[in-house]
Symmetry: C2
Subunit: 381 residues, 2 copies
Amino acid sequence: MKIAVVRERTDGETRVAATPETVGKLIALGATVAIEKGAGEASRIPDAEYKTAGAEVAATAEAALKGADIVLTVRRPGAALMAGVNKGALVIGGMDPYGNEKDILALAKAGVATFAMEFMPRITRAQVMDILSSQANLAGYQAVIEAAGLFDRAMPMMMTAAGTVRPAKAFIMGAGVAGLQAIATAKRLGAVVSANDVRPAAKEQVESLGGKFIAVEDEEFKQAETATGYAKPMSAEYQAKQAELTAQHIAKQDIVITTALIPGRAAPRLITKAMIETMAPGSVIIDMASERGGNVELSQPNKLVEHNGVKILGLVQGQNRVPTSASQLYARNLLAFIETLVDKKAKVVAVNWDDELVKATVLTKEGAIVHPNIKVDAPAA
Amino acid sequence: MKIAVVRERTDGETRVAATPETVGKLIALGATVAIEKGAGEASRIPDAEYKTAGAEVAATAEAALKGADIVLTVRRPGAALMAGVNKGALVIGGMDPYGNEKDILALAKAGVATFAMEFMPRITRAQVMDILSSQANLAGYQAVIEAAGLFDRAMPMMMTAAGTVRPAKAFIMGAGVAGLQAIATAKRLGAVVSANDVRPAAKEQVESLGGKFIAVEDEEFKQAETATGYAKPMSAEYQAKQAELTAQHIAKQDIVITTALIPGRAAPRLITKAMIETMAPGSVIIDMASERGGNVELSQPNKLVEHNGVKILGLVQGQNRVPTSASQLYARNLLAFIETLVDKKAKVVAVNWDDELVKATVLTKEGAIVHPNIKVDAPAA
């Protein structure tokens, strides 16, 4: 059973799908591991450390992939790379499945079984395999670090002989994994932190981190807040009141971080140009959804733009700016999944195609796309 | 009594010597205040805010300075700028007095009374005027923000479903004002923080901020630690043992921030190239003394260099990266000093030349250099 890891080919991608720690554990599962030379470099993992962990360091991607039974990857690899792998090899990683159907079809035609880690069910057993959470957590941290770097003032309150410096006011829009870590990090740095979320039930989590939840707390809200399971969407009237409150709140903020991403869809617009123009010069906005169209009008992926003295950073894949931590967690996510896909005694790949984790994540198998969410309208070119 | 503030002319200088807050208070002292257009821009203070506070916004530096009785500045101004001020006008600011004797002589010849805020005595009464402390505090904060931005990993310990991310290890060399704020900020961000200082008495301060003090704690150290007043220098034997311990400690650090500056002298060399080479790839060093020759071999002012995978930033005037906060505190420092230099009832400048604050800070007066620390060997060109 050979497991291959190659250097990521996507621009700006700094992570790697295995670390010396996970290589050791993959070998303990009965695998041999081949790593393309330099694959860990951007994550500060020298080839020598992989060797020490027991991996073979291959001079080229082709050499690493030749005869592989499992390919571990951070981003969806090109189908051409799969030429030398064993028939039916498992290709496991982040596949960014929506909007890339043709590339996925090409992987199907290459004969590999592709698994999209993004589709891992959010059940207890699979938490340890949840790449969206592990990476969003770091991206949320990094968003605050970037904001602090761009901000013209110190974040914490400082009591000095020359008087007090007031703390920064930071508003985190969206209290998912990234948002919650952004709240926690901004609190650490001493900011006065507020947050919102379309789910009234998020109020408790925000407050448990010391943030103030910004919401119109009327009867409708109170009922939704305590509802169990999936809440019904809030009324249009409520949403209008909430939008008004949010706009007023943004005008008073020093730092705003937006985190609203919906898988497979364009990012919702949370901040308009008019709202930016209500903010004071020197304020900072970090848009964590810029590569999906942006939560913030004027934001651009991987760019810092300034409008009326407000700095707006389109932070793309923030976890790539802390690649050593991101690779560490990502590689563990993959390892945990692989442990369910192999027979340790026989030291072979042994996929249980009926396992709910497998059924949820497998995109391609035996030459075809097999995932219900991925549809190819026209035949691939 | 006219007080003038001009835009700073030094490259990279983002601060301004008065804020709308201090302008209001200067006017309350009986002054009129003229601000050069755009002087507050880099500190995010629009001209309109100065106007609202009661200042006149002048189109040029010359217009602002014409007939001024007091000139407030962040950095030492060129003597040519002083052509239009009143005879004997007070010029108050950071004068960077050592090594710039000719420029100071030129200010003397221009007929102004120059005050170096750096020479403010460290006595209780003058704490509120202490620009070195107010600015070093912010620079120490910023050093950690820069380090976090450059660091390839998250700073805090993170307990996630995919396991634990270990916290960063940060070592702060020098526990003065900048060092203590760096310790506090790195602690905020969740790092495991250690620090050292040539003064054994600093141990208590470091520990009060949650840092571990790194020192050979032998009998000599214990005696020095509890000594009152100025301690005698440690023995050569002690210093050698301490250097050895420090070198071993640095090899295990993720982030090192050096803060050792001695006024009027070259910065002491704390980290050699050989020591850098003991650090892991991805480690970060911030040298806060790079413009004085550097605490760190290889560091360069305002540059990020990488050696063996270790990033080394020569951070110059770190407070200039948080200019809004820095200007706020700096302007208050100046205001507090000015309050001692004017007669509020008569609304005129009224310097008590026998005041210890004046005697300690005045560099030039009536055409000559009058400060004992500033000596001009040759006549100015």
